[in-house]
């Protein structure tokens, strides 16, 4: 899987992480590492462009969760904790969607995975890149 990174200026700078290919247990940590590097460079808002992501397993959900925590200045949980990794997203989240991590154009089967695990409650999904960037 290839990860392309671009910072786009909207109301605030937005880091667009473009994922190309298949996201699974073999590469999800790379996505987290890239987001962490961007965050440590001062980037605070992330748009995960999934337009060209053709497959995502539950490891991808862990990556999304970890990026959400990183964006909130929190340490990602132990990556093997399964459902428990989502507890921290849910416990203090009154508004639902994560403020600093949003998704662009996930394919229908990936949307299905988000829905089947309840992750759709935490990540706002956009179909228009400009609208997504303007939403931060």
């Amino acid at each position: 899987m290839e990860i392309l990174i671009e910072t786009v200026q909207g109301k605030v700078p937005v880091t667009v992480l473009e994922l190309h290919g298949e996201l699974d247990g073999s590469n999800f940590e790379k996505v987290i590492a890239q987001a962490k590097t961007c965050f440590e460079s001062g980037n605070r808002d992330f748009l995960i462009d999934m337009s060209d992501l053709t497959f995502m397993s539950s490891s991808g959900l862990v990556a999304l969760h970890s990026i959400a925590l990183i964006s909130r200045f929190e340490k990602p949980d132990d990556l093997e904790s399964g459902w428990s990794v989502f507890h921290s997203l849910d416990q203090d989240n009154d508004t639902g969607f994560q403020e600093h991590v949003k998704l662009l154009n996930p394919q229908p089967r990936i949307i299905q995975t988000l829905n089947k695990t309840g992750m759709n409650r935490f990540f706002e999904v956009f179909t228009d890149r400009q609208a997504a960037i303007a939403s931060f």
């Binding site: 298949e22 699974d24 247990g25 073999s26 497959f55 397993s57 539950s58 490891s59 959900l61 862990v62 093997e80 904790s81 399964g82 459902w83 428990s84 989502f86 507890h87 997203l89 849910d90 416990q91 089967r109 995975t113 089947k116 695990t117 309840g118």
Partner: protein, 147 residues
């Protein structure tokens, strides 16, 4: 039970997940599984193999055999490994009506397997290791005959 293609056996690591998906995908299409069902089968296979590697083999390379079979209207993906006995069918499904803060620990992958496959059958191999069968029913293209 009909074997669709010869099984593969490899000392699998997480980097082999895509190879295993390609094998299962090609086998499914060769068996004439409706393309719309292939993603379900690949996702379930990926989740199961990931669990074998991460939890069964503790992220060290270990032997995994992947076999694709057809029985009547069902496609079976059979995974065999040499890890400690573990029966994933005992893992409870999460209560999706509860908040995530209240959910039981563990089992995202198993949850997705159950959501995308029709049956999950486990057998502890007597000589050690596990055999896990992921079964999806009514997946084959219907043959239409022109009069």
């Amino acid at each position: 039970m009909v074997q669709v293609v010869a099984p593969i056996r490899l000392r699998a690591e997480l980097k082999d997940l895509k190879t295993i998906r390609q094998f299962v995908s090609e086998a499914a299409l060769r068996a004439k599984v409706e393309p719309t069902f292939v993603y379900d089968i690949l996702l379930a296979t990926t989740e199961a193999v990931t669990n074998i590697i991460v939890h069964g083999y503790k992220n060290k390379p270990g032997w995994i055999e992947v076999q694709v079979l057809r029985e009547d209207d069902a496609l079976w993906v059979v995974l065999r490994d040499e890890a400690k006995h573990f029966d994933p069918t005992f893992f409870p499904s999460p209560d999706l009506s509860s908040s995530l803060a209240d959910r039981q620990l563990g089992g995202m992958g198993i949850h997705l397997i159950r959501e995308h496959m029709d049956r999950l059958v486990y057998r502890a191999a007597p000589q050690g290791g596990n055999e896990l069968m992921l079964i999806k029913e009514n997946v084959f293209q219907k043959v239409t005959r022109e009069s």
